[in-house]
């Protein structure tokens, strides 16, 4: 069976049906970037508990469906605009940046491209250098082209190695510059907005598979947690070589986020088989009467 990585998905917002569907579609590993929750938080404690969820409960929840969960840590650009709160979040970040399975600082960057956003973006680029982690950049929805260029200008200014930086939410207008400057270009397949699968196929046709990454960025909005496998299948149907499919929907994400030293193919290739019986906790994902799914060694994902 094909294996996919969704390197950008907000799983705290997704249901167990989604997890089931993702696993069935071949997703073996996911990266959950720290982001906002659809409305601004007002207390630093909300950030703390959210960050703890990313390295705790959500990781555990994913494992019960045979999916390895990694995350990125960061203060998102929207909430960087509450400066007093943002300063407190910056003090919190070193507590989480060094944790196991934290594969990047992100998603950080610009939203409205304000002064405050710029300040906290730069501080977090420095944090990434300190803890030797890659960076995941969120590019703005509005004034995207300029915002994307500016994100890279500032990263250059801080001496970031473009090979350690993923610029996310690209489109046809931004991809060329991102690739030309040596950065990784990620694309979010989002129904109705950003990129659709067909456009993605055209981009891979035009630019090839090098440093291009596909993700779903599925969250609490209308989005598709199996956008990555769907796009891969569309690529195949449209005659894109298998190796290009593998690079853009699996290997490239592993290569760049693997620079963290926190993400390794063995985490899923040699994972213990799913055994939900081991976790029949009071409020576990299994409820009374449900039959746990136990896979024998023969069901392990192999490649």
């Amino acid at each position: 069976m094909e294996m996919y990585i969704d390197p950008h998905i907000h799983l705290v917002s997704r249901t167990t049906d989604d997890y089931e569907a993702m696993r069935k579609a071949g997703i073996v590993a996911t990266i959950e970037p720290a982001f906002w929750l659809g409305q601004p938080r007002t207390e630093v404690g909300s950030f703390k508990d959210y960050f703890s969820t990313l390295v705790g409960w959500e990781r555990f929840r994913a494992s019960q469906f045979g999916i390895v969960h990694y995350c990125t840590m960061g203060l998102n650009s929207k909430e960087a605009n509450n400066v007093a709160l943002a300063e407190q979040v910056m003090e919190l970040l070193p507590l989480y940046a060094g944790k196991e399975g934290v594969v990047a600082i992100g998603e950080i960057g610009y939203d409205d491209q304000t002064e405050a956003e710029d300040r906290f973006y730069r501080l977090q680029l420095e944090l990434a250098k300190d803890v030797e982690l890659p960076v995941l950049i969120h590019t703005p929805h509005r004034d995207k082209k300029k915002g994307t260029t500016r994100s890279m200008d500032v990263a250059d200014e801080h001496g970031m190695d473009p090979g350690w930086v993923v610029v996310d939410h690209n489109n046809e207008e931004t991809v060329k510059e991102v690739l030309d400057r040596g950065y990784w270009a990620a694309f979010t397949i989002y129904p109705h907005t950003k990129m659709g699968s067909e456009r993605m196929v055209e981009i891979v046709k035009q630019y090839g598979p090098e440093r291009i990454i596909v993700n779903s960025a599925a969250d609490w909005g209308i989005s598709d947690p199996i956008a990555v496998p769907k796009t891969a299948n569309l690529m195949r149907k449209m005659g894109i070589p298998e190796e290009h499919v593998r690079l853009t929907t699996y290997q490239n994400a592993l290569t760049v986020f693997g620079l963290s030293g926190q993400m390794d193919e063995n985490d899923w290739l040699n994972a213990a088989p799913i055994d939900q019986t081991k976790k029949l906790g009071g409020n576990s994902v299994l409820r009374g009467g449900q039959v746990p799914r136990v896979e024998g060694p023969a069901d392990r994902v192999e490649n």
Binding site: F51, V55, R59, P94, Y96, K278, K279, L280, G282
Partner: protein, 295 residues
């Protein structure tokens, strides 16, 4: 030397035999930094990043090591620890033990820890200073749904039997049953049995029966000292189970009750009684067998 310092030296010695030299130098460096400049942010980073230097491989311990551990702190069982836990505990015990400051940083670690960090923290409770101040934390930890963390508190850990009040202790045991954890690995389980827990256990068994589900054999260990008509009826029912493991548990519980009625009931069970007398049926064996075949 304090217990903390002795425990730290012991863990370092054990780690020194198996961990890579590079990892040990990193740990030594962090310890020195913490001694001269105890900055919380640096401590948090070191505690997290220990995972980059130490593996989750079981500590290699000789019998002498195990005896030494038990002599340092009664019930300390590092045989159930891994190298990463040991390294994190060394860091924990290297932070200057000034009560208010120490508790502040350790509570911060508890509140922000990932799964494996929390595992290390809860398992290390018996080695920590100021145990009375950590009791509420340990009780709260039992509310977790993550088996790995629950096990670190409940199993092979002398902290709960020593400090938990009865109500919290009973919840810990009941949750262990609910999560199908091996009860024989809960320390001082026999000593801390109590009538309320026996009632709760029996109630739980009745709930399982009502739902047509099997009952964990080890549960019956809890009713042994308090045999009454109700528990006697329960055990009679257990003896009729189709599951040999449950039957053996019922017989063992009755055997240990030492009551006349129990003895009479066991007259037709001489084969199992002999197996008990030869040590072939024990709570440990039943518990381990259940974990392997049923849990």
């Amino acid at each position: 030397m304090s217990v903390q310092m002795e425990s730290k030296a012991f863990l370092l010695e054990v780690l020194g035999r198996s961990a890579a030299q590079k990892s040990l130098s990193w740990l030594q460096g962090q310890m020195e930094k913490l001694a001269t400049e105890p900055v919380p942010a640096k401590f948090f980073l070191a505690f997290s990043q220990a995972s980059r230097h130490f593996k989750k491989e079981a500590l290699a311990l000789s019998d002498a090591d195990k005896a030494k551990a038990a002599s340092l702190v009664e019930g300390f069982e590092p045989a159930f620890w891994n190298e990463l836990q040991a390294a994190r505990t060394v860091l924990l015990l290297s932070y200057p033990q000034e009560k208010a400051k120490w508790l502040e940083v350790v509570n911060q670690l508890f509140e922000t820890g990932d799964m494996y960090e929390q595992q290390a923290l809860y398992a290390a409770l018996p080695l920590m200073p100021f145990p009375e101040d950590l009791l509420a934390r340990a009780i709260d930890g039992c509310r977790t749904n993550m088996t790995l963390i629950f096990d670190a508190i409940a199993l092979n850990n002398p902290f709960p039997p020593r400090y938990f009040p009865e109500a919290n202790w009973n919840q810990l045991v009941l949750k262990s049953i609910f999560m199908q954890r091996p009860l024989y690995r809960i320390q001082k389980l026999d000593e801390r049995r109590n009538p309320a827990l026996a009632d709760i256990a029996s109630d739980f068994a009745h709930e399982r029966w009502a739902a047509g589900r099997p009952v964990m054999p080890e549960l019956w260990r809890l009713v042994v000292p308090y045999l009454n008509d109700r528990f006697f009826a329960d055990l009679k029912k257990v003896l009729k189970s189709d599951d040999q493991m449950e039957v053996e548990a019922g017989i063992l519980a009755l055997y240990q009750c030492q009551s006349e009625a129990a003895k009479q009931l066991l007259q037709s069970r001489s084969e199992e009684v002999m197996a008990i007398e030869y040590g072939e049926i024990t709570w440990e064996k039943l518990g381990a067998d259940f974990q392997e075949k049923r849990a």
